[in-house]
């Protein structure tokens, strides 16, 4: 459903992405792993239209989205959980969720989805009236994911959901991601540094190194690959 073909992205004169091609099919969990500064986040930002792509082409369901503005891309059904969570700190949890449904007009559907989110994350239900900024890191991440889900995305982009979280909470969040993928058939594109966790839930993986894709395979094969083990799994 999503095809990234030979894109290159620059920050000024510095080339961040070199000829990257990724394809995601419906219902998959795809993960993009790599070290710091490999260009993982840049890939996502290029995809969302926040950072302009200099060459190459991105298509979603056959529609060219390379030069679309971020809000148009969201309206096509691509929803992003930005790096560092970026929830609205002064809005309450419920208002944050409401913001996620900004482009939707079906009041009943929104209500139902908020209830669904509350069953998915009971913690958020407890704290629905609390200001987003007062939540703990893990809760904020849950909120960020929920907010993205409120847009009813067909493709969910996650940027480092494990960032700065305790291992136990990371586990929880990854389980939820898997659940969302299975229950709603939401396609997930997961960018992670925590390669081990990411590859465990993903179907396929891409390895990114200094702006280039160096490897791609099924997730379990990557998990057992010697090079990946050495470089990213610390085994």
């Amino acid at each position: 459903m999503l095809k990234i073909e030979h894109i290159s992205t620059y920050y000024g004169n510095i080339q961040a992405l070199k000829d990257i091609s990724i394809s995601v099919s419906e219902g998959e969990i795809i993960t993009l792993i790599g070290a710091n500064g490999a260009g993982k986040s840049t890939t996502l930002m290029s995809l969302c239209g926040i950072v302009p792509v200099r060459s190459g082409k991105i298509t979603f369901d056959g529609q060219d989205i390379t030069t679309m503005t971020p809000d148009k891309i969201v309206s096509l059904g691509i929803s992003q959980v930005p790096e560092g969570r970026r929830i609205f700190p002064l809005l309450s949890v419920k208002e944050n969720l409401d913001m996620g449904a900004f482009l939707r007009n079906d009041k009943e559907g929104i209500k139902r989805d908020i209830e669904y989110i509350y069953t998915l994350f009971p913690r958020l239900a407890e704290r629905r009236n609390q200001q987003g900024g007062t939540l703990s890191g893990g809760e904020q991440q849950m909120l960020a994911i929920s907010r993205a889900l409120m847009a009813k995305p067909r493709l969910l982009l996650l940027d480092e959901p494990s960032l700065g979280l305790a291992p136990l909470i990371v586990q929880q969040i990854f389980e939820i991601i898997k659940k969302v993928n299975e229950e709603n058939k939401t396609t997930v594109f997961l960018v992670e540094q925590n390669a081990n966790m990411a590859l465990k839930i993903a179907h396929r993986g891409y390895v990114l190194e200094t702006g280039k894709i160096t490897m791609t395979d099924n997730a379990d094969k990557l998990l057992s690959n010697e090079d990946v083990k050495k470089a990213y799994l610390g085994i």
């Binding site: 970026r86 609205f88 809005l91 482009l103 200001q131």
Partner: protein
């Protein structure tokens, strides 16, 4: 409580204050007789009040911190806002308010009515700027430019085409909104300090253009003899027209409050608030930042334009000197002091900010001193503004407990 250390500190503060205010409060130079008058009694007043004040200063600060750390519902900050949400109290105070508002011009003098009209104009200006600064989080230092656009719309359209006040009111709003969009485009990419600088420059440019483009705006000499508003085509006497202008200002204020209240809870309002908090998150929610910013600027400008028309009609004379940067800053102060994003806060802020210097005229040269002192104290004890914005989390809770 009070110990020796505190007393010593208070004495030192008092001496320091006496020293600081000595030239201003004690010496009075009589330039006609070439004598200096020494007013030692003032020094004593300053000393005593500074001593008492500093003695209790720390207690006051402590009390403030205690209140802040206590349960939020009990704090004074929320008390006022919550009280206003109570239906019964709200209805009674609304009734009293309406009574005062309606009877005011018939009881009070023309001077009083005129001052209140000015204050009401600042209420609307404050509410308009509140859209940009309070909701959108865009620091705007050139708001007076939109005010000028409104005023000159009426001035020039009357001068050239003889258009009436009532026709110019919507036209002023329209032109201002257009100006808001024109300003909006170049600053779409700017944030924070840079945004403030560019808006400041925009205000200054508008004023300079009006001052120097003689053929268009008649330069510093301005436009005189602009007619006051007419009552269904009838020309009123001065006293009547003052009252009439007052009621127009009241009407426009109510209109502004209603419209802005509706805007706040609309989709656009939510987009503005999201934009204030985080632009990137905002984009990933599918909000068009460009549109949100431009609507914030133009919707804010509309009210300045309307008030500009009213201002021109009220004073019957306009020139660029009325639309200086100082004017922009006064309006910004109204918003910040009243409470950013809070509608009742901005209203109270405007009334206090505009009326206090007016009523302090009795203290002649000290009035700005007193005013400044009041501002500093207010900023220490109520940093969120006089009536800070509260979020409506409270209401959901009540509903959900019942379920």
């Amino acid at each position: 409580m009070i110990n020796l250390k505190k007393i010593r500190k208070a004495i030192l503060t008092a001496v320091w204050f006496m020293f600081l205010t000595f030239p201003l409060m004690v010496m009075k130079v009589n330039t006609i007789e070439n004598t200096v008058q020494w007013r030692w009694i003032n020094l004593a007043y300053i000393g005593i009040s500074a001593f008492i004040f500093s003695l209790f200063w720390e207690d006051l600060l402590k009390r403030r911190d205690n209140i802040a750390s206590k349960d939020k519902k009990k704090s004074i900050n929320n008390k006022i806002s919550r009280k206003l949400e109570n239906k019964k109290i709200r209805n009674i105070s609304l009734f009293v308010l309406i009574l005062i508002v309606v009877l005011f011009p018939f009881i009070m003098s023309m001077y009083q009515t005129s001052i209140i009209t000015t204050a009401l104009m600042y209420v609307v200006l404050g509410l308009g700027l509140n859209i940009v600064v309070g909701f959108g989080g865009l620091l705007h230092l050139g708001y007076a430019a939109f005010y000028a656009v409104g005023a000159y719309t009426y001035g020039l359209l009357y001068y050239h085409f003889g258009l009436s006040f009532w026709l110019c009111l919507p036209l002023g709003a329209l032109f201002s909104a257009l100006f808001g969009i024109i300003l909006g485009f170049p600053i779409l990419r700017l944030r924070g300090d840079y945004l403030a600088i560019v808006t400041l420059a925009f205000g200054e440019i508008t004023k300079l253009v009006l001052e120097n483009w003689n053929d268009f705006s008649f330069g510093p000499s301005g436009i005189a003899n602009i007619p006051r508003p007419m009552f269904f085509g009838i020309k009123l006497k001065l006293a009547e027209v003052t009252n009439f202008t007052y009621f127009i200002a009241i009407g426009l204020t109510i209109l502004t409050i209603i419209v802005i209240k509706r805007l706040e809870s609309s989709k656009i309002g939510r987009a503005w608030e999201a934009m204030r908090e985080d632009e990137i998150a905002c984009q990933s929610m599918g909000i068009d930042i460009t549109k949100a910013k431009l609507t914030a600027f133009s919707m804010g400008a509309v009210w300045a334009g309307i008030m500009g028309v009213l201002f021109a009609a009220k004073t019957t004379f306009i020139n660029p000197a009325s639309f200086t940067t100082w004017e922009s800053i006064v309006i910004l102060c109204v918003v910040v002091i009243g409470g950013m994003g809070s509608i009742p806060g901005v209203i109270v802020g405007a009334l206090i900010f505009i009326l206090t210097p007016e009523y302090l005229r009795a203290f002649s040269e000290y009035r700005m001193l007193i005013f400044g002192l009041a501002l500093v104290i207010m900023m220490i004890f109520r940093p969120g503004g006089i009536i800070p914005k509260i979020r409506k989390t409270h209401q959901f809770k009540v509903k959900e407990v019942k379920e």
